[in-house]
Subunit: 196 residues, 4 copies
DNA sequence: GATGAATGAGACTTCATTCAT
DNA sequence: AATGAATGAAGTCTCATTCAT
């Protein structure tokens, strides 16, 4: 019960942070604003987080875990790497589309931090990049993908493309439908621009 | 001559800003640090720039102009879109490699800003994205690229991939040679991951 | 039995406070630290003490009582004021030497408080100063001491000298043997600097 | 002129600090209160002092310099150590009497600081203790004082007695005349309590 | 009696910007 | 044009104390 309460308040603060940061921007988002949104006192924040930065890191870790978990499950049963890649792109976009505030935080606000913090974020991101790598390896092994593929570069292309598209979508205030772009992006990632 | 001096001091401050921001990070880079590096008084900065943000924007505009200018010239005489794309990637990487401080500023520090500033940055970036679009259009028209290519998405793939790779290179403290990755990335962008 | 338990916990907290304050300094010594050291919950402190200041006052009162008690007993049977003064100085130093943590608290930390609290401390100190006064009066009456002695000033000299020496000893991290200084200090207090 | 202005503002802040700390106590004395009293902006304080603690240290250093300077000059021409000691005590008391606020700060507020700061204060105090030591040495050499005098202990007696008396005077809100106590204290320091 | 999670007031310090010289 | 001393708003975090359990 106590454990439960704690978990509740921890997540309560994280969810408040997502909303408040998305609304105000990271640097305009005072701890007191998060506290008010979470319905707790300012000091309470510091019972669950080391400092303001720790809220951001924890938020990203928490959400990324779900993200990876969900994508993993969706991908799990599929047979081809090609299909898995489509589902990855599509559902990456879907999750962001389902939660605009989270999309703003991950695509914009999270980046407004110094290099040290960025390294921590990259560390958390590794779990996601591993998903991509696994798909690539599978694709190479079963002959779907180019045998001479440089996995790191291919992964950077895939992640870079998804990320750039998502950021662009957030910057235009979610004006277009992100999920429906997935097939075309998938096509690009598999076949490139060239006229094959 | 006075006009000349102004231009000198303007660029002097911008160059100081690149160095100082790269060394300290945008948020740890006080205006007074830039002034000291530029060898001028704090107040002098405000004779040439509206505010601190304006330094960043101006810096990016100034450098991006050169960037685009240089890439345009290099690409100019070439016959195929494919070749142009290779040269674009290669020289994009080359310019960043030649100036580590500038690379840090554009890949990391410039992003640590609020949405409003990001929109201004995107605006400046349009000139660069136009270069990519022109190559894509040319490629489609002369049959090198897929006729059904969605130009916006293709551009996002190209830019996203270049950007992700460059950022990754900066984050690892320029540990590997960026320029030599260009051919492989070019190959990926043209043919994708698939086993064509 | 309950009463007994209370007393136990009361002293338990006071002893924890001596250790914790000595280790951390009064202002760096959070109530929660004392509680942890005492093995009780934070809230429990407030069942036995009105507030943090009250811990300090109570601590001093408690320890000073023992201090005075012990000195009184030692002095009791002696015949001359001169001998009593020597024993007072010697045993004052001995008690501090026996308990470094207490010495730190009384000589340094207790002073880091506002005037209001200092007045309360002075009040508790009166019992000790009375000991000195009694020795002085006895010395005057039996001709050992100068008949025209200003008792208040003499007491301030005696206490000031002891206190300064003790503080100096604490500030040097108890580097020298305090007790062995007693005879020389006693000599000084009785005969002064002069060449009599 | 610039140098002059700086010096003026530095001293202006120090004098404001003496008054404000004396009135409010060190821990109740916010930097903004000092700034207001000094007639400068909060931020201006930090152009002249590293932090709040630095104000206290600088204040003590500045005032102690004057203190020592003045005592040195007064003592300078005198022939006997005994006379010098009297003048030292008398003028120590006189300076405190002339500036009640300073007396409060040095006798009470300055002590409300942690050990680290106390060590810095002690360091500054050394100049004053040197004055005492010089008198003692002179007294021993010319036969006024006991040849076997332990200088460190004698100095602690002298300083301890002066300090205790001064603190006691401050604690009673300067109710009695401090300066007039000097002769009796001098008598005590030279001849002790004993009936010589 | 005992707990310990929650509270929330409060202050030091930084730094972009100004303006008198 | 150039200076740089002065400004002052603004926000993170600590910690003594409370009170529901």
């Amino acid at each position: 019960m106590l454990k439960n309460n704690q978990k509740t308040k921890y997540k309560q603060i994280i969810d408040a942070a997502v909303i408040t940061i998305a609304e105000n921007g990271y640097h305009q988002c005072q701890v007191s604003k998060i506290a008010r949104q979470a319905g707790v006192a300012d000091g309470t924040i510091y019972l669950y987080f080391k400092n303001k930065e720790d809220i951001l890191i924890s938020l990203f870790r928490e959400k990324m875990q779900h993200f990876i978990q969900r994508l993993s499950e969706i991908i799990a049963g599929k047979n081809t790497a090609t299909e898995k890649l489509l589902l990855l792109v599509e559902n990456h976009f879907r999750i962001l589309s389902e939660n605009h505030a989270l999309a703003i935080v991950t695509q914009l606000e999270l980046r407004q931090t110094n290099k040290e913090l960025r390294l921590k974020i990259n560390d958390i991101l590794k779990g996601y990049l591993k998903l991509i790598d696994d798909i690539l390896i599978e694709g190479i092994e079963n002959g779907e993908f180019d045998a001479k593929l440089d996995i790191r570069l291919a992964r950077q292309m895939i992640f870079g493309t998804i990320d750039e598209t998502a950021t662009s979508w957030v910057m235009t205030d979610h004006k277009f439908d992100l999920v429906s772009l997935a097939p075309k992006i998938h096509q690009l990632l598999i076949h490139g621009c060239g006229n094959n």
